[in-house]
């Protein structure tokens, strides 16, 4: 008899022919998450198991953050002896009161007692030992799971995990990471779908300082904890901003800046082997996030641009940011883009036809090249 962590995965079940590949990636990701705690991870008929770590709850906390994991349960692994199983179940339920239900599952059909019988027998034994419990098969307060596989696995309750798809199964994409509340959430949403994400940050010294950069490093680190670290590209953006400010109509400053960001980001994304860009835009939030503005920014790139927050309200985005742990860093006050360059009255409905005209005063290609060439890389 020993303590193990039972790891359940959700959507991976659906992947038909690719199932073994998804499971291999997921198992590897769980192994990576558990590695600092030691222990052993293995896959055995539609469950991943973790054993041998010093602290089962710390293990659960790490594993529940692995994308593709649906839920985890600290469990007891023991021999398939009905009597011993029922005793152990009674023991596990001793401290509880209220209603419960036994969820029995017999995957090993050689075991002589079927699921119905098993549930009945265990339920009986639990009730006998604890008079404060009663059975409710419809909406029980406590779930006692008993699974008969190579061994018997007993657990009470499940800890919800992040869900999604295993990291690395969804391709690569590049996230435009500003330091605000939205962009880290956008990155998280795609990472959760198995996408390997790199981050691109635009820096404008001397209008922004080291603290603004440090904030982005911290955000990258937090996001990286959900995957396998993160690669952060830091783009020097001052020359582009000053060129726009000097040579282009003031009201278009923001939208032109966005267009340059997209151009630079696409080039860096190609280096990273990414097939798409991710932004934290939410429709109508600010001038550069109107439908017209988004059309103008999309027009300069060929890659698809994913905007997972497009239909969310600020409060919903903030809620996710709090949950994933980026909010407290995002609200630090250091500026990521200087207000010197923000037009007093930004155009909210720019027309695509006017963009080329506005940019005609600039050597777009040279500015983009310069920014891409001088981009620095940090791996966090």
């Amino acid at each position: 008899m020993r303590d193990v962590l039972l790891v359940r995965f959700g959507e991976v079940h659906l992947k038909g022919q690719n199932r073994p590949y998804f499971l291999k990636v997921l198992t590897d990701n769980v192994k990576r998450a558990v590695r600092p705690l030691g222990g052993h991870v293995w896959l055995s008929d539609s469950r991943i198991y973790v054993s041998g770590t010093a602290d089962i709850l710390a293990t659960a906390e790490r594993v529940r953050r692995v994308f593709g994991v649906h839920s985890v349960s600290p469990a007891v692994e023991m021999e398939k002896d009905l009597d011993a199983i029922a005793d152990r179940c009674a023991e596990m339920m001793r401290g509880l009161s209220g209603t419960f239900k036994v969820f029995a599952r017999r995957s090993d059909k050689r075991f002589p007692v079927d699921s119905m019988e098993l549930a009945k027998e265990i339920g009986h034994r639990v009730l006998e030992a604890n008079s404060r419990l009663s059975v409710d098969v419809h909406s029980p307060e406590h779930r006692l799971n008993v699974e008969i596989r190579d061994n018997a696995y007993l657990s009470v309750g499940e800890i919800e995990a992040v869900g999604g798809m295993p990291m690395g199964t969804g391709g690569r994409a590049a996230l435009l990471l500003s330091g605000g509340i939205d962009s880290p959430v956008a990155g998280y949403q795609l990472m959760r779908r198995g996408v390997t994400v790199c981050a691109i940050h635009f820096q404008s010294p001397p209008y922004t300082g080291e603290l603004a950069l440090d904030k982005v490093l911290q955000l990258s680190r937090i996001l990286g904890e959900y995957g396998n670290g993160m690669r952060l590209y830091i783009v020097p953006f001052t020359n582009i901003q000053t060129a726009i400010h000097e040579k282009c109509p003031d009201g278009l400053g923001t939208i032109l800046t966005r267009r340059f960001m997209m151009r630079v980001a696409e080039r860096i994304a190609q280096k990273f082997g990414a097939q798409a860009l991710i932004t934290g835009e939410s429709l109508g939030q600010v001038a550069s996030q109107t439908m017209e503005s988004l059309a103008c920014t999309d027009a300069v790139v060929n890659m698809p641009v994913f905007r997972p927050l497009i239909g969310l309200d600020k409060l919903e985005i903030t809620g996710i940011a709090e949950k994933i742990g980026t909010y407290r860093v995002s609200i630090l006050p250091y500026e990521d883009c200087c207000t010197v360059f923000t037009p007093r009255h930004p155009v909210t409905k720019p027309r695509l036809e006017t963009m080329a005209d506005a940019e005609s005063a600039l050597d777009v290609e040279a500015l983009v090249n310069e920014a891409v060439e001088n981009t620095a890389t940090e791996i966090v």
């Binding site: 209008y207 300082g209 007093r344």
Partner: protein, 373 residues
């Protein structure tokens, strides 16, 4: 070479200070409260520092409480003094104080005491009429800073003490003045100082006080520091402070400051000095506005040239965009937003000032082009 012109944020500990601290840890690590010979030696070192500091303040025979720094000393003085007074008090505080003084007064207000803010003009001159009025209304504590940390404006401590004339306790926050501007303990009941502003280490400061002043301690326990600040003494920090006090020599600072003003005005003729006339302010602090360029932007541009300055006090420059101290002194928000503070130490080299002046000459015209439309 870097040009470090942010000595009011902190100073670099001297080699002598570092050595004294290492020795205090390596050899003098005993607990000053223990009774065997080496421990008594540690006790004597603490006493030597206490005496050296009091001597510098002309306060031989008065008390000195070692603290974790200026902030704790200010808290102890303000909250500790009022805690020993009976009933609701009227207390008075300068309008341009450091947050470690402002916050304790805010707390006193929350506790139901009445707090009067005493105005200061752009040269840092106290509103003496308001002080007199507060005293006439029965004020029992007055707290003002000796040297304003952002502008270098200096308080006439002698006049303050004479005006108060025993009607209230007088606390002087001397963090920016200690050993750079002369001070005599005859002009205060309590005086705050900090080691790391005078080339000592961070984490140690002190409150000097007259023996007659009664304070309620904030930290209670083993009864160290005459019961006013329990906790084993920070012997390495105190050894560092002692060495710093021995080494510190502020002569020649004013010449450096005036040289800096001249060089900076040559480099940027549009620049404006904030606060008092340079020769009438503290010898190590210069506050200047560079019109139409935000202080923060200029600061980062200077940083890229290896020149370090500040937009205000280091404690608040991470929070507010515009210095509340400059605003309290009647400086316009536009001008305050373009302000930078340069602060010197006796160790500042003229080459550092030259380097900063050259950087300003180079950078300022470029940044000015990109002002907000």
């Amino acid at each position: 070479m870097i040009a470090y012109l942010d000595n009011s944020a902190t100073t670099r500990p001297t080699e002598g200070v570092i050595e004294a601290m290492v020795r205090a840890m390596r050899e003098g690590y005993f607990n000053p409260s223990s009774v065997y010979q080496p421990a008594v030696e540690a006790f004597r070192s603490v006493r030597a520092c206490r005496e050296a500091v009091l001597e510098k303040l002309g306060a031989v025979g008065e008390k000195l409480v070692f603290t974790s720094g200026g902030t704790e000393a200010n808290n102890l003085a303000i909250l500790g003094a009022v805690a020993r007074m009976r009933g609701k008090q009227l207390v008075a505080v300068g309008r341009a104080e450091h947050p470690s003084v402002r916050a304790p007064f805010d707390r006193l207000r929350d506790m139901g005491h009445e707090v009067r803010a005493l105005g200061v003009d752009s040269r840092g001159e106290l509103d003496w009429g308001a002080l007199e009025a507060a005293l006439n209304d029965g004020a029992s504590l007055v707290s003002c800073m000796q040297v304003n940390n952002e502008t270098g404006a200096m308080l006439d401590c002698e006049r303050l003490y004479r005006t108060v004339a025993g009607r209230a306790l007088v606390h002087i926050d001397g963090v920016q003045g200690f050993l750079r501007v002369p001070f005599d303990m005859r002009n205060a009941d309590m005086y705050t100082l900090s080691a790391h502003k005078v080339h000592g280490p961070k984490g140690v400061g002190a409150l000097a006080l007259r023996k007659t002043v009664r304070l309620e301690p904030a930290h209670i326990g083993g009864g160290q520091e005459d019961g006013l600040r329990s906790g084993t003494e920070n012997t390495p920090g105190i050894a560092g402070l002692l060495q710093a006090v021995r080494e510190m020599d502020a002569s020649g600072l004013m010449e450096k400051k005036l040289y800096m003003v001249r060089r900076f005005l040559e480099a940027v003729p549009e620049a404006l000095v904030n606060g008092p006339e340079p020769e009438r302010g503290a010898p190590h602090i210069l506050n200047m506005s560079f019109p139409n360029v935000r202080g923060e932007t200029l600061l980062h541009a200077l940083e890229a040239e290896g020149v370090y300055a500040s937009t205000g006090s280091a404690c608040s420059s991470r929070k507010k965009k515009v210095s509340p101290v400059l605003l309290a002194m009647g400086i316009s928000p536009d001008r305050a937003e373009c302000a930078l503070r340069f602060s010197l130490s006796p160790h500042t080299e003229l080459e550092e000032i030259d380097r900063a002046a050259e950087a300003l000459r180079e950078i300022y015209p470029k940044l000015k082009r990109f002002q907000r439309r």
